[in-house]
Each structure stands twice: as C-alpha cells, then as structure tokens.
Symmetry: C2
Subunit: 727 residues, 2 copies
Amino acid sequence: IPISNTTEHGGSEGENNDKFFTHPRNPKALAAYLFAHNHLFYMMELLTGLLLMVLSLSEAPAVPSLRLDVYVHATLELLALVMVAFELCMKLRWLGFHTFIRHKRTMVKTCVLLLQFVEAIVVLIRQTSHLRVTRALRPIFLVDCRYCGAVRRNLRQIFQSLPPFIDILLLLLFFMVIFAILGFCLFSPNTSDPYFNTLENSIVSLFVLLTTANFPDVMMPAYSRNRWSCVFFIVYLSIELYFIMNLLLAVVFDTFNGVEKMKFKSLMLHKRSAIDHAFQLLVSRQRPMGLSLKQFDGLMRFYRPRMSARDRFLTYKALNTAGAPMLSLDDFYKFYEVIGLKWKARRSGEHWFDDLPHTTFLIFKGINLLVKSKAFQYTMCKWTSIISSGFSSSRIVPWSYIVFLTIYGVEVLLKVTGMGPLAYFSSGWNLFDFFVTVFAFLGLIALAFDMEPFYFIVVLRPLQLLRLFKIKQRYRNVLDTMFELFPRMASLGLTLIIFYYSFAIVGMEFFADVVYPNCCNTSTVADSYRQINVTIGNRTVLDEGYYYLNNFDNILSSFVTLFELTVVNNWYITMEGVTSMTTHWSRLYFMTFYIVTMVVMTIIVAFILDAFVFRMNYSRKNKEPLLDPEGKLFEAEVSRDEALATLELYKQTCPGLSSLNSLQGTDTHTRSHSFTNLPQIQEWYAEYSRENLPQSDRSLVERELEIPPPCPDPEPQPNSQGPLSIN
Amino acid sequence: IPISNTTEHGGSEGENNDKFFTHPRNPKALAAYLFAHNHLFYMMELLTGLLLMVLSLSEAPAVPSLRLDVYVHATLELLALVMVAFELCMKLRWLGFHTFIRHKRTMVKTCVLLLQFVEAIVVLIRQTSHLRVTRALRPIFLVDCRYCGAVRRNLRQIFQSLPPFIDILLLLLFFMVIFAILGFCLFSPNTSDPYFNTLENSIVSLFVLLTTANFPDVMMPAYSRNRWSCVFFIVYLSIELYFIMNLLLAVVFDTFNGVEKMKFKSLMLHKRSAIDHAFQLLVSRQRPMGLSLKQFDGLMRFYRPRMSARDRFLTYKALNTAGAPMLSLDDFYKFYEVIGLKWKARRSGEHWFDDLPHTTFLIFKGINLLVKSKAFQYTMCKWTSIISSGFSSSRIVPWSYIVFLTIYGVEVLLKVTGMGPLAYFSSGWNLFDFFVTVFAFLGLIALAFDMEPFYFIVVLRPLQLLRLFKIKQRYRNVLDTMFELFPRMASLGLTLIIFYYSFAIVGMEFFADVVYPNCCNTSTVADSYRQINVTIGNRTVLDEGYYYLNNFDNILSSFVTLFELTVVNNWYITMEGVTSMTTHWSRLYFMTFYIVTMVVMTIIVAFILDAFVFRMNYSRKNKEPLLDPEGKLFEAEVSRDEALATLELYKQTCPGLSSLNSLQGTDTHTRSHSFTNLPQIQEWYAEYSRENLPQSDRSLVERELEIPPPCPDPEPQPNSQGPLSIN
C-alpha cells in the first residue's frame, strides 16, 4: 500500500507542482498526510481562515449591527487560532521537522500564528483591543489553504513581476522629483499658488498629478499668471502618464508572459519526472517495458478512487494510441492530459426524442428545426429590439410588454422541448435566456400583486437587451471569453480583496473616527467635508460635501473608501482630509496604497491582454471558435467484444458492483441501438478545455519553450522498496 | 532614358508602396512626375499646408498678438490655396485624368480645395469671417504632403482599427445605457441626488463616470442614503472600466499587430514584384540570367544619383553573395535591404591617436583605458549622487557644486581626448553628458554675472541626476528604446495634433467667448467659474475658480483646453460650463472628442506595448542589445586588385572625377596602413537599423507571415519597349 500511495502522491504532486522532498517518508507520516489531504480537512482550513478574516467585522471599530463583546470575539479568535495550530501540527507530523523548517510559507504562518496567539490572549486578559496592526497579516491563513491555490499563484506572479516594475517605478519617481524641483523653482514666487509653495507640496502635487486627480486645478494658478506655464504640465504628463506609465504596462506584460511560460515549462518537466517515477514503480519485473491494463487499473483506483470503471478503461484506451497490449512510457507521458478528460457516450441519434413514436418524433423534429433556424433567431432579436424601444420605467406595464414576454415564454418552452432539456441547459446563452425570462415573469407577478421588496426584479428588465448581442460572432467571442476568464478574474479579484483587507485593517487602526462632518477646516479641501444648512431664498437646503462618508470607521466603510482610492479620481480629497486631521506621514499610507493597487491593476490588465490575444490567435489559427462544443479531439472506439472482455476482467479483479453498472449500461446501450448505428462499435468523445491543449499545440508550445524531449527509454532505476505489485 | 527612369520609379515605388498604375505613362507625364518628385516641391507642399494651418492663429477668434486684418489673412489663404491647386494640376498631368479620378485621397483633397476657395473668396468679398467649420478640414493639405507619410500611415492604422473598436464601444455604451436605466429606477426617488433625476442626466453621469472624472461625487448622495448603493457603482466600474475598457485595448492591440504584419507582408510582396520588373528591364538579351556590375552601376546612378561610386560598388558586392560574375535575380531580391546600409571603412586601428608619435600615443592610450574602465564610470556616478544630495535650490552656489562641475568638465575633456571627438559624439549618452555639463557651466556663468533671463538654465541642474541611470542595463534599454521610438511617437503626436486642430476649429466656431468669469450660474459647476473678492478677517482675497480659462477663445487656448479634456480629469466641469451657456447638444462635441482621443490614445498604448515587447523579445533572442554599435552584419572585403580594377572600369564608363575620389581615397588608405593591417584587404561594415532586419530574422518573419517564396526563374516577359540598354 505505501508504494501505490506514493505513486498516488506522485500523481497529485505532478498536478500541483508540490516539491518531491515534501513526500511522506514513513507510515506514520503517511497517516498524517492522508488525514490532511481530503476535502473535509481543506474545508476546515478554509472556514478557519474565513472566520479569522470575518472577525474584523465585529472587532473594535466594528460595523454597528455586528458588534460583539470583547470576550466573545477574542474567544472565537482563540478557537480559530487553535484550529490553525492543529492543522500546522498535522503538517509537522507529515513533513517531519526538518522539511517543516525549510518550508518558507509554513514558517511565516507559524510565526504569525504565535504572534496572533499572544495578542489574542492579551486582548482577552485586558478585555479591550489595543493597537493591533498585526491583524493585517490574517489573510495569510486564508491564502495558505488548499482551495486558494489560484490566489497564491497570483501573489507569486505579482512578486515575480516586482523587480522590473520597481525599476520603472524608480524612473517614474525620479522624473517626478526632477519636475518637482523644477516646478518649485518656477512657480513658488507666485503666492496665490498653493500647489508649489514648498518642495514637499510640490512633490505631493506632482504625485497626485501622476494620477491626474488634480489636473487642471494644479495648473490653473500658474496658467492664469503666464499662459506658457502649461508647457511644464503638458511635458510632465506626456512623459510620465503617457510614456512611462505605458512602459510600466509593457514591462509587466512582458514579465507576466515570461513567468507564465516558465511556470508552464517547469510544471511540464515536473509532471514528466513524476510520471517517470510512477512508471518505474508500476512496471513489473517480468515486463519492465510496459504497463498492462490491470496495473493501470490498480493505479487509477488509488489515484482517482471515484472514477468509474468505464472511465478508467477509456483512459487506458486513450493513452494506448499504438494499440499495443502494453502501455509504453511514451504513451504514459500523456497521462495528465488524458486524465482531465470527461467521457461522454456518442449519442446514437442527435436528438433526445429519437426513441419516441413516429408522429411525436416528427412534431419534435419540426420544433427542433424551427428553433435552430436563423429566421427564428432573427425574429426573436427583432422582437427584443421592439420591446426595448417600448420600454418605460413607470410601474404601469404596457400590454406590448406582456405580449412579448409571453412570446419569450413560448420561445423558452419551444427550445426546451425542441432541443431537449439537457442540450438546452448546457449552453450558457440558453441559461441566460431562461433566467432573464423567468425573472421578467417574476417581476410581472411582483408588480401584479404589488410586492414592494421584489421591485428590484423589474429593474433587471433592460438586461433583456443583452439577447441582441448573441447574433454577432465578435460579441459571442467576447462574451464567451468573458465567461471563460471569469474564474481567473475572480481569483485576481480575491487577491485584490486580500490587499484591501490588510490596508483596511491598517487604515482602521490609524484613521478610525478621524474624519467627520465639518472637520478638516485647516486643509484646502474643507469644502468637501462641509455639512451646513444654507438658506437660499426661503428654503433651507442642506449643503453637503459628503466626503466625511469616505472614512475608515469600520471594515465595510474602509473597503468602499479603498475602492474609491483605487479608482483614483479625487482620491487626494480623502488623503488631504485625513492628513489634516493626523500627521503628514499619513500620506505615506495613501501613496503606498496607490502604488500597490497600480501594480495589481497593471497585472490584471496584462492578464486580460494576454488571455485575449492568446484566444484570438488561437481561434484564428484553428479557424474555428475555441468553445465549439463539437470540438472533439480524443475519441475512443470500443467494440462490443472488447467491452465484454473488459467486463470479464473487472469481474475477476474487482467484485464491487457499482463500478460495473456503467460499463454494463454501455454494453446494453450499444446493443439497443445496434439497428440504427454501426453494429458493435461505440464511440466516445471527450471535451477539452484550455488547460488540455490538443496535442499539436502542446508540442508547439514545448518547442517554443525549449523543453527537452523525454528520454525515450530510461534504465530502470534501482528501487529500494523491493518488488512491486498492485494490491 | 524613359526606360531607366521607369526602373528608377519602380525603385522608389517599391520602397513607398505606390501603386503600379500610378506610374507616368508618357514623356510629358514623366516630366511632370520628375517635377513633382523632388525635395523642393515636397518642401513647397509642406510649407503650403503649414501656412494654411497656421493661418487660424490670426483668423477671427485670433490670438491677440497675432491678429491680422481680414483682407490680409484671406489673401494669404487664397495664395496658399492657389499653390495647392498648382500642385494638384501637376499631379493631374502626371497621373492622367483617369487615374486622378480613381485616386480617392486626391479627389477628397480636390473637393475640399474647391470648398475652401469659395469660402475664402466669400470672406474676401464680405470682409468678415462667417461660420467656417470647414476650416477643420485644413489638415488634409498637410497630411497629403510627401513628408507626412508617417502621419498618413497612422491615420490609416487608426481607421483600420476602427471596426473592432466600434464593436466593443457599442458593448460599452450598451452596458452604460442599461446601468443608466437601472440607476434612474433606483436613485431618482432621492430628490437630493442631482445625478440621476432624469434619464438624460443619468446617462451623462454614467458616461462621465466611465472616465472616472466624477467618481466618488456621483455616488455620494445615494451612498449617504443607503450604504449598499455603492454596490451599483462598484459593479458598474468593474464591468465598464476594468473589464471592457481593457478589452478595448486588447482588441486594438491585436488589430494593430495584425495590420502591421499585413502591411509588412504587402510591402514585401510589392517590393519583390518591383524588383522583378526592374530585373526584367535591366538584363540584356545576351545574358538574360544575370546583371553585370556595369548594368547595376547604371541603375544606381539613376536611382540614387548622389550615391558615391564606392558605395555603389560595395552595394553590388554585398548583393553578390555567391561571388559570381553576374548578379542573379535571387541576389537582386535583397536590393532594398542592402540599399539602406551605410558603409564605413573598417578602421585599421581602434583609436584616433594611432597615427600619433609614440609618447603621445601612450598618454592618450592611458586616458582611453581610464575613461573606459568601470571604476571611472562608478566614481563619476558616485559623485553625481553626492552632488544631488548637496543640491540646494537657493541662488547661492555651494563650493562643492563648483568643484564637482569642474570634475565633470575634466571628465568631458578626458573623454573627448581619450575616445576621439568622433567616437565621443556618436553616442547619445555622451552627447547628453556634454550638454548637461555645458548647460551647468552656462548656468553658473549666468549666476555669476546675474543675468536674469538665463536662470532657467539653473533650473535644469537636477537633470544631472539622469546620469545615474546609465549604469543599469534595463535603464539603458528603456532609455535607448525611448530614443528609438521617438520618431514614431512624434508622428503619433502629430496625428493627435491634427485631430486637436480639427476639434479646436469646431470648438472655436461654436464656443468662442462662451465662458467668462462668474458665468454658468445655472449649472452645478458654477463654483469653478467664480471670480469674486472675499474678505477673510481683514484681508481681501480673490476667490478664483479659474475654469473660465479653459475656453475656446483662440486656437492656443483651445489646444490647452483640449489637452485638459484628453487627460479627462474634471473634464465634465468644462463640459457642463459650456453646456450651461449654450445648448444640451454641446455635450455631443465633448463626448465625441473623448471617444476620438480614447481611440488615438489606445492606439498609442498598443503601439508602445508592441514596440517594447518586440524589442525585448528581440534582444532576448539575440542575447545582445539591439543597438550595440558593434553589431555588424553586412561585411564586404575589397582586395586592392579588385579596387584598382573597379577604378579602371569607372574611369572608362564615367569620366566624372567627383565619384572617383572616394574610391581612390580608399585605395590610398589601404596602402598607407598596409604595414599594421592585413595587406591588400580592406573590410567594410554597415550598421543596420530595425527596418533592416538581419537576414535570419527576416526569413523568420516571412515564414510567420506566410509570404510565398519568390518564383526562382520567371520566364522573361514580353517587353513592349524593345531592346534594353543603360544610358
């Protein structure tokens, strides 16, 4: 068992790029390893991390409705920390002390854990929160958990992009300082110019100008004195904003590309050596050159215990391209590509209603042809455009709307019956249609029965218009890519939120309750914090600047404030407000935040650029859209005899019934359609995603990345664990 | 003569991608063609175009100091238009009526010319300028002139990128409208929210929000009512600003890349067919497979009359890679690559002082070694950093500054003597050093003699710091790329200015003198246009909003205003101000301008990205920086005998002395160094620029772009012009 488990681990390891030296070395470690590597444990990790982060909602500067007593939230925190400690203990058991010490991320986590422990106990004893900036380190517990691998990857990429980024940033800051000195020399004689009266103001003004947030204003006093002073600002913005900032994007884009390629390459090589290991462990002494189906099946039952016998067999078939009785190492190298495939039986007929009686069949066939016709689609779009032109925001629903909604309802019904529910709901566009129509109906019902809280559904009505974009290929491409990019975008968003969290904690600790209505009277932005009653004519109007709302009073407000700082427009008002109520050093917080978000945002832009350019080139090369559901690339034909033989094999090796049913079902299926289809042949096809590039492209990538070809016949390495057998 | 001229034209045509059907067809047309194709004529075209554009400085809403009487500027305009008409007549003669009609750009120019003629005459008769929006079309005369080819190319690329751009723009606007309706539904009940009270305001607010120019403000009224309303704005900005806007960049980047590749490909094929033509015309009946030096020399004397005999011979040598007596068609295909090379004699020694007496030689050698040593460079940089830390902006110059400046002066002198003036000034970095030092000295002198107007030189002092950036390779790369990109950036800037010009004219015609201090009291931005005296305590302070300065009162003010609109921050203040004094439709002008600049800016970003990524990949592939001056790729060795033989040939065919001198000089040179160098061999090398990619890369590009290989041996086409001869 240890051996096959090592293989299994070699498998999961090849996928995840875990280092080889982190493998469990003895049965005790293996037990800890198995305990720590299942979804229950992962979920516990995730929940602990989330709990720790969510706690800041109810700690000291708490959201009013979620405030908890100190002993409650401190106890909760201690509980969570104990759980983290338990997880770390499991990891220590599994890794061994030596490896544990060497693993950097785990060490950092341990240190942070100790610190947090001490602080939580201090809070519990003093019954009051002290200045706890270290809470900003809490996201590390979330980031470290297994499910946040994508976030870790993003963070790694961000840190790897940093060195060139910082180089260009220095260039940027250098020009800023030069221009600040120049500006100070040129404009300080003008006493009505508050932006350049000291060297510090001059630098701050130009830093803010870099974000364009104060643009024409910073120029105006000088411009009103001498019209040619605009040259200074135009030159500054041209160099800094339009040249060096774009350079920053170019450098990050380039590094990002390089990092992605390197990662792909190292993962590729890593997988290959994992496969080498597994192959050496699996082959028997008698036949050292190949792997039989029995051995492969044994591996798969440990590697993917929940995989059906059918899929195991099909995977073997797909790997065994030569059709030889044994699987060679070369075939085995494709393991990770084939393992990701999902197998589907090729339907004998195209439609779900093929088995129905003839008359019914004809009716459904007609409906099917109707809903797939271009004319039908165009008519529906035409109606949509009419419906949108007749849109009124009032609560009186025009009759036309109800008529069209009925038509949409009928369309949905027709499509479901015409294409079959399975085929219908497997398309994202149909799902979208379905939900838009259902929501529209719900909105109508809400209106009819006058249910106040559901009015928001009515508001979603204009989304109907999105149907129009289905027609054009480019929009389909763009929106499909949008959906495809969504997981990665979400992980980037999560990464941003982690930065937000840390900054929010720091902001709350230092700037909570610093700004309030009518504060900041000593600053230049006092107007924005004003809240006074003004009498105009005979009416009293509240003259509000509203900016006191952009505060750090609790974590939710902090997040909104930080989002506003991310958008950068008018961010200097928030900065100046806080600065005027605290010290000049507060500016450092805001400037650091700007630079950090700039890094993350630039990387997001670089990622979107990269993904889109890849996708466009890819679909151009293949002359067909990437997501075409018909894009079958791995096919396996299973003859009936073969299926029966395999069935026999499985009956011998594995008496469990559950895994057999599917293959038997297949067999039955094959037989029941033997009249309409080719007899005895059952085809299977698998869809591929971007991760599983088709073979030709992958070899191209390999050549481009200069991945050395695998050694064709490695000599069997001396194996310390003795003769090998499965089960 | 007509034949070789056709060949010549075929040459210039292959370079410029002129269509074949625009060739002159008869001697009369040829005369016109020759008249219209020289630098004098081009310069006239350019000056006429510039004059027409500059005229708007002194027309109706004129810059005060440049105002001219109506009859003066109208007469000037008529004069310029007559010149344009003359140019068009020459073109008509050369092209022939039929081709002239078919040439779109020329036709548009003719129409605009006629219109302007009529308008100029009307102005001259009425002695007052009417509403002349058509002046916005004036840049067409400038764009059409020969020297503005780069601008035309940019414009073409912009127009070619438009279709995909517009598609994504529609998606953007679509989401904007959906969110506007949603926002109107959600926030219109709040009476204190001026941003969403009507559907029009709602759309305008969200359009401005797209540029982030009104960001936290537009959210604040809703946010103060209900904290969750921030979700609406966050979702809107995430979709529109962070996703679709980046998509726009990705799509433009992709299209831009494609367009560049297509252009390169078509130019390549065009050049090839031009070479085919020329080759067919040049080869003699007796030897149809090759081109002798004599024939080649005859071609070159027509194609590049000012090329020296030496360079002609070297070009022939470089083309004739096989060393055969005749030039084959395959060799001839490289014509355009080799023709761009500049030939330099390989210096027999490395240093300029090699010919000096021994003692002097040793001294200079020592200096040379000193200035090239790393230690020297680091010491100078160290000094620079010290000098910068000791920088004070006061007018009292510290002694240390003078000391260091002296050191810099000595450094410059040492370098000039050590490397030789020619080698020293051929490096951009040295030039920069030289000018910085000279300016610093001038500043010092200005300070010493108290010359007020030269203080600006003192202000340039911080630029000394730029020396620090020479050390690191990345900065050298970045700054070198910056210099290399400069011509293209300048042409993009010029393109932008042309758009500015058109918009400035339209703005002046409609919005001149519309805003003034204390105007716009009905709008929400009245504060920004205020100019009142406020008494605070016992001081009277002028409370200025300054925005009345952002007007369209003359073309210079318009340009500044348009630049502010390009930067987009607070652009809505200008828009609202103008709108409140005119009609709602004025918004169209500002929104159109925003979209146009967005297109141009996106293309500039795409261009910078493209250029940098290309450069980085290129230098990574070649493992050496692109601009390494030692990067010699084309070398030709000329033995002394060969040189003498060629001299004989030239003496026979061309008795002119001027072209001989250079080769004779070479000969002498070879002899004089025959002791220190390899005897009788003289090597030449040529520098290459990005345009002249080395052979290996070019073939790579060709393969990538799928350019078909040239037909190896085309059959001699029947030639209607009879037997061929040169001269």
